[in-house]
Amino acid sequence: MQGIDLWVLIAMLTLATVVIKGAGPFLLGDRDIPARLRPAEVLLPTALMTALITVALIRVGADGAIRIDSAQCVGVLAATMALLLRAPLVLSLALAVVATATVRALI
């Protein structure tokens, strides 16, 4: 794809992103979110991180079937164990990379 269409896409996606990200802060202004929503708000990072991890580990193929990226799963599992043992973040990430690359090299 070349030409004007491409720039229309970039402009529209930029605009959509600005509106989506700005809506909450613009509508709320300096008000706080309702107190009864706060118990949900504190759990939002938990839900968001889990969702992002999940979609990173699965691929939906053209046939509609879900495939699991087993190499990445092994890497994330290695990082999880390291993190639970209170290993430093950078070491945990390095273990994930080594584990994933090793599985990919072996498969």
Partner: protein
């Protein structure tokens, strides 16, 4: 700020390499279809990896501009929810808050969280700045390397992003324990099931709503 870096910068450093690699991957795959300039402009303006990949995926599948925009916007829909969550932690009037709200990206949102629903505005802004530079520099490198066809996945670099999110999740679960584990299990199930039926990107927004389980908890007066 004498000779020290803001905590937000330090916290974002582990993500520099994977973000550069991801931006590079976007530059490499996008250049043959979009030319050398458009991917860089897109990364500068849209600054949302998953949305850019989603829009690009529609284009490569032969979809039109409208379909590509919708795919990208759906992928960013989670930022509608995070926007409301982070709004009270920003500063200024409506316009300034809406502008500051543009800096929310997944890692900075989680890094800035204090665990009690409040967010550290400085950590948000500084960690996003590191992300932004990494993303744009990565895209630029990808465009330059597009002919050489490098493969970051062979080195396992693609796992750093989910592994980093795992680290943030583990930190959250240490705070929220049982209810957190329930929300995580529900979010994972929602994301996996809705990935089967919804357009790419939408499952993350749907699964984010698993946090509503928290409403069942009795709160103080």
């Amino acid at each position: 700020m004498p000779r020290t870096f803001h905590p937000g910068v330090i916290k974002a450093l582990p993500l520099v390499l994977p973000t550069v690699a991801l931006g590079g991957a976007f530059g490499v795959v996008a250049t043959p279809l979009m030319g050398p300039v458009a991917p860089i402009v897109m990364s500068c303006l849209v600054f949302a990896g998953s949305a850019q990949f989603a829009a690009f995926g529609v284009l490569t599948a032969g979809g039109g501009v409208m379909a590509a925009t919708i795919a990208g916007a759906l992928t960013n829909l989670r930022f509608l929810i995070t926007g409301f969550a982070i709004a009270p932690s920003l500063k200024g009037g409506r316009i300034q808050r809406a502008v500051e709200g543009q800096t929310v990206v997944d890692p900075s949102f989680a890094l800035a969280g204090r665990g009690d629903g409040a967010f550290d505005r400085g950590v948000l802004l500084w960690s996003t700045l590191v992300q932004y530079v990494s993303w744009v520099v990565g895209t630029l490198a990808g465009v330059i390397l597009a002919g050489a066809n490098p493969d970051p996945e062979a080195y396992g670099l693609d796992v750093i992003m989910p592994a980093f999110f795992t680290a943030l999740l583990v930190a959250e679960l240490r705070i929220h324990r049982g209810l957190g584990a329930l929300v995580a299990a529900l979010a994972a199930a929602c994301a996996a099931v809705s990935a089967l039926v919804l357009a790419p990107g939408a499952p993350v927004a749907v699964a984010s709503l698993a946090c509503l389980v928290g409403l069942s908890r009795r709160t103080g007066p």
